[in-house]
Assembly symmetry: C2
Homo-oligomer: 125 residues x 2
DNA sequence: TGAATATATGAGCATATATGCATATATAAA
DNA sequence: TTTATATATGCATATATGCTCATATATTCA
């Protein structure tokens, strides 16, 4: 990075323009707790299928079959996505006979969802 | 979906268990404004590199070179990611000579970031 | 017990994405 | 004008992800 052919004599010399800012920022980012989890949540919700599932479940609990109809995707695809959301503990489910009712695992997900939608709507232009 | 070999006679018969819930939920999701943009924002922030860039920029504006040092990735990778963030209007930049100073395009991104980090920290267990 | 049904899951494929490499562009300095 | 430097970007590739297909599992009912 930032190493050109004509710099080859001095590979150790890696420059940053504002060293104080860089050091300060590195320290601050390292101090942020739960950044990995934040990225995980963002990544999961960044998929339209999972986002819609989450939206649907923020209204009320639903079974796999109904979710697949709401999103107009196959039962298999729905189940795969729910499995991932389950793994990330964003949703939970209860079984009633052979029917699995999924719901959001806690209110934080719902709040995050509504606040982000608001942010998205406040988009400029 | 939900079609088994022994159902082949009646392919049009696709069942949903709770039809009222399904219809209601479809209508509600369609009514949500800015869902695509929400997914876009989530997806971008769901990548550790972009998330860290956003975190860094939420503190103060920074040049490409410094960002690459903060994240410990190449200048090229940094520039590629910034390009994507620019395209999604999450960051903007100003040029000062040959240096490009990037910053968050508005405070909504910063607010979204801090609120999501809080949500992530409130994680159960 | 056997058929129907609701869900789960492994394998494979198609697509998307992040990054490295090489190079282009733009500006500053000599 | 030539060299140095800060950033941008096209291309290639490795990896990740979502979906389909086939099938497994679990539960209900006849």
């Amino acid at each position: 990075m930032l190493i050109y052919s004509y710099m080859a004599k001095d590979l150790c010399e890696i420059k940053s323009i504002h060293q104080t800012t860089v050091r300060k920022t590195i320290a601050r980012i390292q101090k942020i707790d739960g950044l990995d989890r934040t990225a995980e949540i963002f990544k999961l919700m960044g998929d339209m299928t999972k986002l819609k599932i989450t939206c649907a479940l923020s209204l009320e609990e639903m079974c796999v079959c109904d979710i697949s109809h709401v999103l107009n995707i196959s039962q298999s695809a729905t189940s795969h996505q729910l499995r991932i959301l389950r793994g990330a503990k964003l949703v939970k489910y209860r079984k009633e006979g052979r029917i699995a009712y999924y719901s959001l695992s806690d209110s934080h997900v719902k709040n995050l969802l509504s606040s982000t939608i608001k942010h998205a709507q406040h988009r400029k232009e």
